[in-house]
Symmetry: C2
Subunit: 233 residues, 2 copies
């Protein structure tokens, strides 16, 4: 039974809710982050993560889109890639007061991984000033609390590298053993022991995680075998 | 530059934002979940996770409490325990439309772990119909999408068992080796190999994760050594 002297939940002030996307790729053996230059206040002219508000319906029979739908929609609007062509996972919800000076905004941060063969398409259609891949080692100052979101995303991806097949989201559909090792090194931000990597690679080949693909890749030295991730497993 | 013909972000409809708490403890070697019987619509009379709305200020210079503050506030209001006496971690944000029939509510779900020696205090002060510890194996139908939240929380805790010291949040300050193994088994929902457990225990004793505590505990057979988790590490 509701106490009629108390305000109803419907009557309390509400926050705006946004999604923000930490989008990584690997280009030239370097982990890169997609940033957008803001065209409006607050932080006009600063670099920021792509994102936007969750669409909330304005009626009992129209409650709008889910948070997952909002994240997917923003990802494909911001990258121009076909739906389903990227890995996407919810990271953490950032809800400190004053993180946006205009009004109370709670943001659900997501992490996305884009294959390197698709990465150039992301920035091809846009004005270079508007969307750019940035090296993690040379990031500009970011708007809002977006530096914290990047830090949480990097921890998550690094943590998943050793016990999930996340690295395969950052290689082309077929890859050489060197290309896969370079992705491991790009995520870790440093050298990955070649012997350990070779043993892990062989284990994945034996258990069917990786399969040999047809053809060979020309490299600087000799033609290299190419492999593919076995998604059916 | 904002297009003045477009509505400003401040003008769009907004969701209500809540926090919900999946609170576990271990009682009699069984993993238990704290549920509250709802005293109001929707789902009046049903069992639900404890939770509440995030306090959002109504002015530019009052943006209210953070999502973390809301989770801690609800945890200590609902359990009556002293602040800081439980482990609390953000799980996932649930934001499907129509998850609450009244209005659009986005809920940030959190997982909390309560030590078994504190668990009886949680329900001692409340009417037994209002707050109860439920065995995970005998849960009633839950309000809203709370069954999904419980499932995500259980996965998280089970996943963390093997590579973090999370089990120590579910034992009293001092514990016997059997008591610690029972917590592992309660979380896993089944037997934990005694040889493997003993080896892991010895490793933690050697590396200083666990230290020998003074005194012995009377058990059914013979007095057992007691240990403590070394929080300073």
């Amino acid at each position: 039974m509701r106490d009629p002297s108390q305000p109803r939940p419907e009557d309390y002030p509400r926050p705006a809710v946004a999604v923000d996307l930490v989008i990584f790729t690997v280009i030239d053996t370097d982990l890169k982050l997609l940033l957008i230059r803001r065209g409006q206040e607050p932080f006009e002219g600063n670099w920021a993560l792509p994102g936007g508000f969750v669409r909330v319906g304005d009626a009992v029979d129209d409650q709008g889109e889910s948070v997952e739908e909002a994240a997917h929609r923003e990802l494909y609007e911001e990258t121009g890639l076909p739906t389903g062509s990227a890995w996407l996972e919810q990271l953490y919800t950032f809800g400190a007061p004053y993180r946006d000076p205009r009004m109370r905004v709670i943001s659900v941060a997501w992490c996305a991984l884009i294959r390197p063969d698709l990465a150039p398409l992301v920035t091809a259609g846009t004005d270079a000033r508007e969307a750019q891949w940035w090296s993690l080692t040379q990031l500009p100052a970011l708007a809002f609390d977006h530096d914290k979101m990047v830090s949480v995303a990097l921890d998550r991806v690094q943590g998943k590298l050793d016990y999930t097949p996340i690295a395969f989201e950052l290689v082309p559909p077929t890859f050489t053993i060197s290309e896969l090792r370079e992705v491991f090194e790009a995520i870790k931000g440093g050298a990955y022991d070649r012997g350990n990597f070779r043993r892990r690679f062989n284990r994945m080949l034996q258990d069917g995680t990786i399969i040999l693909a047809p053809g060979k890749r020309q490299t600087a030295s000799r033609p290299a075998r190419v492999y593919a991730f076995n998604r059916s497993r």
